[in-house]
Amino acid sequence: MARVKLIEIAHARSGDKGDTSNVGIIAYKPEYYPILVEQVTAARVKEHFKGICFGEVERFVIPNLHALNFLLHKSLDGGGTISLRTDAQGKTYSTALLRMEIEVDDSVARDIGVAHC
């Protein structure tokens, strides 16, 4: 097994609706998708965004796109025009989520060129 950052196996895009941001993550390969489903849970994402997201985190699966979508409620300081944040629309939360560490087995580690431990 190896611990790697999510960015090694997924890409992402994020956006906003009011004070809720959405973060979508997409597996680089179909075979990585089950890793996302198993490890990137709503609870872990909530914990990951501690200090940023003050509401619930909802997760949706999109198997046909090998993707997950997260809604981070109360994460934009009021959102839109109310927010005082630089990133009032959560545009950079995409890569913030890709900082999360996950565990991958040795074959995946080899695949992405990470030395296993």
């Binding site: 959405n22 979508g24 999109i62 046909n64 993707a67 979508n69 300081d77 005082l84």
Partner: protein, 455 residues
Amino acid sequence: MTRPIRVANGQGFWGDSLQAPIEQVRRGPIDYLTLDYLAEVTMSIMQKQRSRDPRSGYARDFVPMIEEVLPDLVEHNIKVVANAGGVNPEACRDAVIEVARRKGFAGKVKVGIVAGDDVMDRLDDFIARGIELRNLDTGEPLSSVRSSVQSANIYFGGRPVAECLGKGGQIVIAGRVTDTGLTLGPMIHEFGWAEDDWNKLAAGTIAGHTVECGAQCTGGNCLIDWDTISNAADIGYPVVEASSDGTFVITKHEGTGGRITVAGIKEQLLYEMGDPREYITPDCVADFTSIHLEQAGTNRVRFSGITGFPATEFYKVSVSYSAGWKAVGSLVYAWPDAFKKAQAADRIVRERLERLGLKYDEVLTEFVGANACHGALAGPPPSDIAEVVFRIGVRSQDKRVVERFTRELAPLALNGPPTVTGFGAGRPKTEEIVAYWPALIPKTEVQPRISVIEA
């Protein structure tokens, strides 16, 4: 089977590339040019403009753009669908007609409008009849902010756009039509899709979602392999090649920059997504979990298999209201100890605001270069970081305390931590906060108003 149509997007928001719509018309064949100008906050800005000048309140950039491309539109019979009308589609139409006549196109072009979305004058009537327009996020009734409301608009879908095209409109100027409706409308018009043909309406809606942000589906703001996206300076905006059976291809004009791949398209599909099985528009409910994507050649991604569900009984209403005041300012601190200096400056400003007895709903500090985007997830900045931007903002219902705050940053140039710069732009600006209030209203309460006249 009707031949496929080519629907181009040339504007992802008001402020997007001025050149994109012109390039979309000239650099390859298209049947429709769609332009999305409206965001929630835009409507309130336009409402204010109209209150000062009854002939304003629409996306002004639209008129010179039409002036530029009108000969091409007429020659190639390209139709335009834009929500450039803002809160005053009639005035936008009149300006376009004036331009058309001046350029010698009198009698050669028909301009239509889709209006009736502006319900500002009907709010009290709604409330009196028990339509509370409760906030979809908080559940509060609109009456709680009624006196601060600045604009109120219904989101119409693609159906009234199709109707306007059906009446012969070559340039269709809409008020608050959904971004997706601008693309779906031409498909309904061309292919005669029925009101309950949910799968096809969902397909057209998903096509609209894909292209509504312009180049964000052709390689713009694309994370995957972003550094090898070619010729970004000449990025091509998207074109939908739509077929009557509900399948479509997203592509762009030959010779333009950017990149259209399945992976990049997936990113855009996820943008601003909620529940992927319930993408609700006035036209239908689209199911994003039904989409099948395949690469169908270079810079071509084909969509198929899309399913949809019946539309709801409601329209969404977008209400904007005045919600206080804010100001944000910044200063730049240089090496050495850039981060520590910025943190010291923050403590000083906060202490001074406190000594002055000023109270705010919120005071928010960010250190750009260290943690503004990703917060604690970014970890501590390197100890020898070259520079850090100290950025601080305040929010209050009281304009005076916000204005007083704007005087508290510049003095730090002389009386705070050293090696500070970046105050050249002057004091922070005090801005009115116009907040957004999403609500639902029964569809039976409002009717789009559609008309077409010849230039």
